[in-house]
């Protein structure tokens, strides 16, 4: 997308700028992953030298401090140099130097070959796919960790790993799933779909979008590489409570810093979405005509921008306490230990809505088009998203009912927690009412959407139980919580991610996935998921604590059953991967609108043209008016691509 140059260009380079160097030079010194790799190393060395020089100059003893060297070298300077190496700062550095701006030649936009997916690319469609593939890689890693510790938990006692490694597996599993899978996978799906749905040629800040993506693998590598740190991976849970996290070995710092990179990625993306949604809607697309996926991403992005800085703050304080010996959370120096939990949960509760609202949007899209019916109560669906956004900031202390906080805070937090069930309930009833008397097509995305509705209701019900202080006092930190978490995060978020991936797969790849494999994937997943997590409600209430590597003999049989079920769940993922890979490479060519949906992304070819639209569409109605006589969502000039695609499938 051309930037509006607000300064007169005093000199211009030709439009198709030919680089002056050969391919080998460009491989090592041109922007790309190779240059990113060696520049990362260079950055680490420079950071290390900086630390050593400063420490020697100030006569600190000892001059070598592994933690400080790692933080500065490997976790700050190294990644920055990596980003510079791949070329994500090129435009801004050029701008900063004040040299004449090059006219936009769009060479960094769009994917013509698979190699373009490994570069800094400004096309939101490419970035969306980059996000999805990267997040599913981390989903695999996190899932393997889960199966590993489920193998350990199959029987009481320690069989395979020591306690610190076990804690590390559990902690890194959760951290990867939250920061490297659920949150960015939704960002990826939205990145692909939202600009198309808005009738925009791209996001508001395409270069920022590209940068946001590349921050993500940095965070993932940081979390995973904590396993090789002396002392092992961070083992204080994804929640990293002080004072435990402050006394942990070096691996904890990998968590502290990884969260910062993931958080920065998240905030930049959210900022981009907000500006895009506010300023780049097609003519006639009022807020009340936006698809619900857009509404969902709008509210999610508000949550991200406002809440994420709090987790950044909490991890800064832990690092300061560890490295600079401050007393934010150390009582000896006057710190307030519980402050960590307040600050942490002030983000992490909205985080769970960040991990769910986009899923709500996806489900609305899928259920509406697959039932051939308008969404029931569209305006209230949008308003309920806002209700969840507002209320979501008022419930954080329900994670702290047994933490020793002020007693008077518990009941108000209980009330606000129970109140959130109202907007959520509006959504559930609305989906059911949308299905009512619809012409239902049980395709794979629809199966996942329906599976989501049912599983999320179960997870929501256990949430209602937990929102009541007396029950939470008994159930806190038991497997009942683990069950609740996974019903809302797996049965909730992951199911909607699957629904979204299947739903937009034809649009993204131009090919259709295999429907039978899709259904097989769904049923295997659905059954094994329930087999894995439903029994956890029971053992939790019977008293099995969470985050333990050993437990009472009485829970042995159930744990064995759960572990076996979890292996089946892991195996079901293989069906998905196989389907995705084979369909993407060899699947049947998909038409522009295989679901006959009405939102704008389906009115262009599959995959969409490089700049989305020949002409910006004119929106003249709502996006869900199935079966309403004479209703249109938009008027488009028929693009050459759509016509040709139709001819192919006439």
């Amino acid at each position: 997308m051309t930037t509006t140059h607000d300064e007169p260009d005093t000199q211009q380079y030709p439009a198709h700028f030919e680089p002056p160097h050969g391919p080998t030079w460009r491989l090592f010194f041109g922007p790309g992953l190779v240059r990113g790799a060696w520049m990362a190393g260079l950055g680490f060395v420079l950071g290390m030298l900086l630390v050593l020089v400063l420490r020697a100059w100030w006569s600190w003893d000892p001059v070598w401090n592994t933690q400080v060297v790692l933080v500065v070298g490997a976790m700050v300077v190294g990644p920055i140099f990596f980003l510079a190496g791949i070329g994500s700062f090129d435009y801004w550095l050029h701008y900063l130097s004040g040299r004449p701006t090059r006219p936009e030649d769009h060479s960094g936009h769009g994917a013509r070959t698979w190699k373009d997916y490994f570069r800094v690319n400004t096309d939101h469609k490419v970035i969306g796919i980059q996000y999805l593939v990267t997040t599913f890689v981390f989903f695999t890693v996190g899932g393997l960790m889960a199966m590993f510790f489920r193998a350990e938990l199959a029987q009481p006692g320690l069989q395979f790993v020591d306690s610190q490694t076990f804690n590390g597996l559990v902690s890194v599993h959760a951290t990867l799933m939250i920061f490297l899978f659920v949150i960015p996978a939704f960002a990826g799906l939205a990145n692909f779909a939202v600009p198309l749905m808005l009738g925009a040629p791209d996001m508001a800040f395409p270069r920022l979008n590209a940068l946001s993506f590349w921050l993500l693998p940095i965070a993932g590598i940081m979390f995973v590489s904590s396993f090789i740190a002396p002392g092992g991976a961070f083992g204080a849970g994804w929640t990293g409570y002080a004072p435990l996290s402050e006394g942990q070995p070096l691996g904890q710092t990998f968590f502290n810093m990884g969260v910062q990179w993931a958080g920065a990625s998240s905030i930049m993306t959210a900022l981009n979405f907000l500006v895009t949604i506010i300023t780049m809607r097609a003519p006639g697309m009022t807020f009340w005509r936006m698809p619900l996926l857009v509404w969902a991403n709008f509210t999610t992005s508000l949550l991200v921008v406002l809440a994420t800085p709090f987790i950044a703050g909490s991890q800064f304080f832990v690092m300061f306490d560890r490295i600079l010996h401050t007393s934010f959370f150390t009582p000896d120096g006057g710190g307030y230990v519980l402050g960590y939990q307040h600050i942490f949960w002030f983000y992490s509760h909205p985080a769970v809505y960040i991990m769910m609202l986009p899923g709500f949007g996806i489900v609305s899209e899928v259920i509406s088009s697959m039932s051939r019916k308008p969404i029931f109560g569209y305006r209230l669906m949008a308003l309920s998203l806002i209700g969840i956004l507002v209320l979501g900031f008022s419930v954080w202390a329900h994670h702290m009912f047994v933490a020793g906080m002020a007693d008077w805070l518990r009941v108000p937090m209980m009330i606000t927690t129970l109140l959130i069930a109202i907007p959520t309930g509006i959504k559930v009833f609305s989906w059911i009412a949308t299905l009512w008397r619809g012409r239902i097509h049980l395709t794979t995305p629809m199966l996942f959407a329906l599976g989501f509705v049912t599983m999320f209701v179960i997870g929501g019900l256990s949430g209602i139980y937990l929102g009541s202080v007396p029950i939470d006092i008994a159930a806190s930190d038991t497997y009942f919580i683990v069950a609740h978490i996974h019903y809302v995060l797996f049965g909730g978020s992951v199911f909607t991610i699957y629904a979204g991936v299947y739903y937009w797969f034809p649009k993204m790849t131009g090919r259709m996935y295999d429907e039978r494999l899709g259904k097989l994937h769904f049923w295997l997943t659905f059954v094994s998921f329930n087999a894995t997590f439903f029994p956890m409600h029971y053992i939790g209430l019977r008293g099995m604590p969470r985050r333990v590597f050993d437990y009472d003999q009485a829970f042995g049989d159930m744990n064995l059953f759960i572990s076996i079920a979890s292996f089946v769940l892991g195996a079901s993922f293989v069906v998905f991967v196989y389907n995705m890979v084979t369909s993407w490479t060899r699947g049947p060519i998909a038409e522009a609108n295989p679901w006959h949906a009405r939102t704008l992304e389906w009115q262009v070819s599959s995959p969409p043209p490089i700049f989305n639209f020949d002409e910006i569409p004119q929106v003249v109605g709502g996006p869900y008016e199935y079966g309403v006589p004479g209703a249109r969502h938009a008027v488009l000039t028929p693009s050459k691509e759509a016509k040709e695609t139709q001819e192919v499938h006439a």
Binding site: L96, I278, A282, F310, G313, L338, G510, R511, F611
Partner: protein, 206 residues
């Protein structure tokens, strides 16, 4: 990817993207700066929350803040406040100048703003070295270094933005019609100043 989509997209490249519709009177980059400032305000919020916890909520908090024998350098920081506020005035003057086409006034204002910002940071550094306590000396010190340090980091970011403007300004990129690239760093700089007023009041005075 199918080849037919490739050949079609190659055709499109030469046209470039269609111009997006502007669905709001708010300028996109200004809105982006607003949201960025919003998230930075929330980051400061988390630091103020920590301050609130260790000073107000903590039952063992000392009655006097900072606890004796420590003192905050209120006067030095006060001078620093004057420097920063003056730099906002020069920033404003710089923008008024470029809007009127007075290039010399614009450049002078920008350079003065930058120098004063730099002076602020240097003063803060000297203050840190002479303040009489270290990060490990207690919660009051943690909050002091945390909040002023976070603010200092934001001054540094602001200085890089100002430097960008100065470099481009000297190369002649701004005019009365085109100065959006000065406006946004200007907004950011004023917010750094606003944040300092809040930090100074809450940390040193209250």
């Amino acid at each position: 990817m199918s080849t037919h989509a490739e050949s079609l997209s190659h055709h499109d490249e030469h046209h470039g993207p269609p111009t997006a519709n502007q669905s709001s009177r708010v300028d996109a980059r200004t809105l982006g700066m607003l949201l960025f400032i919003g998230s930075e305000i929330m980051l400061f919020g988390s630091f103020f929350a920590a301050y609130f916890f260790v000073r107000v909520v903590n039952p063992g908090a000392p009655a006097e803040w900072p606890p004796p024998p420590y003192e905050f350098p209120v006067f030095v920081a006060g001078v620093n406040t004057c420097i920063l506020v003056t730099s906002s005035f020069t920033m404003h003057w710089a923008l008024q100048s470029i809007k009127r086409g007075q290039r010399n006034g614009f450049l002078a204002g920008m350079v003065l703003t930058f120098l004063m910002g730099l002076a602020f940071l240097c003063t803060q550094l000297i203050e840190y070295l002479n303040v009489g306590f270290n990060t490990g000396d207690g919660a009051f010190a943690s909050v002091f270094f945390g909040l002023t340090g976070l603010h200092g980091a934001h001054v540094a970011i602001g200085l890089s933005l100002l430097l960008m403007v100065i470099i481009r300004g000297f190369r002649g990129h701004y005019s009365p019609e085109h100065h959006h690239g000065v406006e946004l760093p200007g907004i950011y700089w004023h917010f750094v100043d606003v944040m300092w007023i809040v930090v100074y009041s809450m940390v040193y005075l209250v």
